[in-house]
């Protein structure tokens, strides 16, 4: 434990890693990165590195889980043992089980499940390095992987965390800011539907801070949404135009 901790925000409103309060970390988003799955994506946000893959629609299994009028969606958010400081023991933690649930519920909101009765769609999110914002980055990659798999959706969705650090609302908190900050609020939206698909809060915010945080999240999500669309168009133009990279 350090005796005197460095301030997280300088007097001129810069963060430890030099970012402005409303600035997200460098992002890289790619579609179609894994061959075996029906759709896949890769995302990097700072040092956070995540693969997502989609299998399906396919026969639901075991059979009694099949729904007569729609597909079921399964989702597993999982972290590699080496993805975190120290070493995570193999096996799903309670945190991973909870995040799998909220991510699945977010995606169930946008996938048109009624198109595939009696079938199942499996979504696998593998965090190979975790450096804050993994649930929202994982969701962003998973949404892209669904689109890459050609599964019909109402909209893409993307997510990002907002935080409260030393009294200020910041976009896309780093791990250090997350750990030492006052609040962390992961948000995901389907922008074209004008809707929130994921929303959680750890830590304390009053009503007006909450509104500020939500607006800031919207700003970041719009950027990610654009990157998702570019990644898709790059993937599909690459497939149809011979000779292109």
């Amino acid at each position: 434990m350090e005796k005197v901790e460095q301030r997280l925000i300088t007097e001129d409103g810069r963060r430890i890693d030099g970012r402005a309060l409303d600035e997200m970390r460098p992002v890289r988003i790619e579609a179609g990165v894994l061959d075996r799955s029906d759709g896949s994506a890769y995302i990097e946000m700072g040092k956070t590195k995540i693969y997502a893959a989609v299998y399906g629609p396919k026969e639901a299994h075991p059979r009694h889980l099949a729904q007569p009028h729609k597909a079921i969606l399964n989702c597993r958010y999982h972290m590699a043992s080496f993805s975190v400081e120290g070493r995570k023991a193999p096996g799903m933690t309670r945190r991973e089980i909870e995040l799998s649930k909220v991510i699945r519920e977010a995606l169930e909101s946008i996938v048109i499940l009624e198109e595939f009765p009696r079938s199942a769609i499996d979504i696998f999110i593998e965090v190979i390095q975790a450096d804050a914002g993994t649930r929202t980055a994982g969701l962003t990659a998973a949404s892209l992987a669904l689109a890459d798999a050609g599964i019909p959706v109402l909209d893409l969705c993307a997510g990002i965390a907002v935080g409260k650090v030393e009294g200020r609302i910041v976009l896309d908190p780093s791990e250090e800011e997350d750990k030492r900050g006052e609040a962390d609020m992961p948000v995901a939206m389907a922008p074209r539907l004008g809707s929130i698909v994921l929303l959680q809060l750890n830590g304390r915010l009053n009503s007006s801070e909450f509104r500020e945080a939500l607006s800031l999240a919207k700003k970041g999500i719009d950027v990610l949404y654009e990157l998702q669309r570019k990644a898709l168009s790059k993937k599909f133009s690459g497939l149809t135009q011979i000779g292109e990279d």
Binding site: N74, I196, R204
Partner: protein, 278 residues
Amino acid sequence: MYRIGEKPYPSKIMRDKLYELILRGERLDGRRPYQYRPLELKTSIIEKTDGSAMVNLGGTKIVAGVKTALGQPYPDTPDQGNIVVNAELLPLASSFFEPGPPDERAIELARVVDRCVRESKMIELDKLVYVHGRTVLVIYIDVYVLDYDGNYFDPSVLAAVAALATAKIPLYEVRNGDVIAKTESRFGLPVRKFPVSVTVGLIGDKILVDPTSLEESAIDTSIVLGWSDDDEMAAIQKNLQGLIRFDTIDEVIRVSREKSVELRTKLMEVLGRVGAPS
């Protein structure tokens, strides 16, 4: 993968009927949209715990118990006591629940209760350290759903908070590095906040609070908001599939805040406390 006992397909007819009622300010069970079901709260019902509470919210019945023990702090918080929350959706409470280890819903419930208690700073955990980095108080909170008619979040938070607020622990003394319990006298935990959660159901552009099991299968989605005091949220959890329209958010915050004050007032009455703790 972890979806056990998933609820049946919400019938479109039921949804439309509920929406129509809400438009008229009514509900299936006669309540108004922003009205909770009758709430009963009893504390100190399990003598073998350090603190316990039973809550009935309409047809949902929760029992929570608190036990404490000495233990090691977590490496990253050597100067704080520990909180460990476990929740179980007992199979006797509903045909939606199955025996076996906690499923994703039970884990989510435990973690939401945990966040309400922890992030609200309800307990002054730094006062529960006996030997820095080595011996602290560990507080186990176990929450059981005994009967389930929707909305297990709010009564679970109430039961956990009431059990904590009424818990009595021994006085611990440190002698030559050993921590010794003086069991003859017991004291309350250092409580400074009384968090409550409010579950809001969304249906189109309308909202309601405290949904029943039947309503849960008809609404579009729902969200749980944990208020640490009248002015501050400590936890939020959107917790069913479905969309939350941007234009409903302000009303969700406004109503949940209002209901949180109402629930906290009721809680303080039962605890025999008025206003903020000393």
